[in-house]
Symmetry: C2
Subunit: 232 residues, 2 copies
């Protein structure tokens, strides 16, 4: 899809985010230190920073109750591990609730209520400041069925089609590809994770050189519809 | 984990791979055109190129029979879609068998018999030619439970720990992270997919600037062990 290199740049020097912080300004300041934006850039922001700025925090020691409050269904449970479906439709551990990097003991960070809206807000603010409107992805670390470890995926998106649809295009031999949709927003989120770091205070990254599939899709486009979900 | 940028460079100009081709030489030629290797580089090679070089091709119109021959278990089936567990333990559509970009009508490309060994062979050959031994990942496009679209993941690995284990490390507030393993080999494979392109004849990429977790892990480290698999 791309002839040249893709560069993933960590956006550092962003202070610990607190409720009410202007995240777009802080990410924008980091972008400015990194030379700003050009047309086609993607900005990936970690969910935890978005959630904190939006005040999506809860103080309780009853994690299970908190999870059940955020979940619309529990898919599996084994000991402390709860695989839940969130109100957004995402299937993940603990309905996306996480205590690491929370503001203090007993505190937990919840997913943004509408991560697509968070992404749209960041995109608009960054476009107003820099000119070019970046694609914006809000990322979170999700576990997977059948595979160990987490990968970062897109839970919010603005200014791109999260799925690159190759159906109807042809392979190198001219044969039509039967059914190929690539979850590029998830691959972009995972690529950004390589520079984000869990403990390094780098909550955002800029990806340059990737030819973003044009569109105004939502990260909910990435959610498997119930009628096609073989692992309910 | 990384202070500087990460660069993903497509390795182009590699001809269509045929059985018996010296893939390490062809990838090495492309690397040489791109300036070679430095310590810490990661080379990601698409499974299809590896399989073709290794002659892992079959000619039949009976796809289902082919899938059953490559699978050790069928997990789900809906119409033409068969989610199968391969002999390696990977859970994926059609046991990894694919007809796109196959050498001709009726032909299908199978997964390498031992993708870790393929990765180790490429790593050794590239180290002998260039000096620095790159981490090598053999990647393939897998679907996921609950999410639409494929992402590229690691089905073979050499010269790195596929899982970055953060258990026991601390977050920004000094709190111990309870349980965090990041599937960095999958994120590297997905990042490489952003430049590989399905139809562009770019079967490999070089990733530079990522601090690879040291180790000699196998991509089978990424397979969820049966006793922890909640979605059998």
């Amino acid at each position: 899809m791309t002839a040249g290199p893709v560069e993933i740049l960590p956006l550092g020097g962003i202070p610990e985010i607190r409720p009410g912080d202007d995240l777009a300004r802080l990410v924008g300041d980091a972008l400015e230190r990194a030379g700003g934006l050009v047309e086609g850039d993607v900005v990936v922001v970690a969910q935890k920073a978005v959630s904190k700025a939006e005040g999506r925090l809860a103080q309780t020691h009853d994690t299970v109750r908190l999870i059940l409050g955020e979940a619309r269904a529990v898919r599996r449970r084994r000991g402390d591990l709860v695989i839940a479906e969130t109100e957004h439709g995402f299937v993940c551990a603990s309905a996306g609730i996480d205590r690491s990097n929370a503001p203090g003991d007993g505190w937990a960070v919840l997913l943004p209520r509408d991560p697509d809206a968070s992404a749209r807000g960041l995109r608009a603010a960054l476009a107003a400041r820099f000119g070019p409107a970046p694609a914006v992805i809000v990322s979170d670390s999700f576990g997977r069925a059948w595979r160990q470890g987490t990968t970062d995926v897109a839970i919010g998106a603005a200014g791109l089609a999260p799925l690159l649809d190759l159906r109807g295009t042809t392979d190198a031999r001219g044969r039509v590809l039967a059914s190929t949709q690539i979850a590029v927003a998830d691959e972009l989120a995972g690529a950004a994770e390589l520079v984000l770091g869990k403990a390094a205070g780098v909550p955002a990254a800029r990806i340059r050189g990737y030819r973003v599939p044009p569109g105004d899709g939502s990260a909910r486009d990435l959610v498997m519809p119930p009628e096609r979900d073989l692992f309910p």
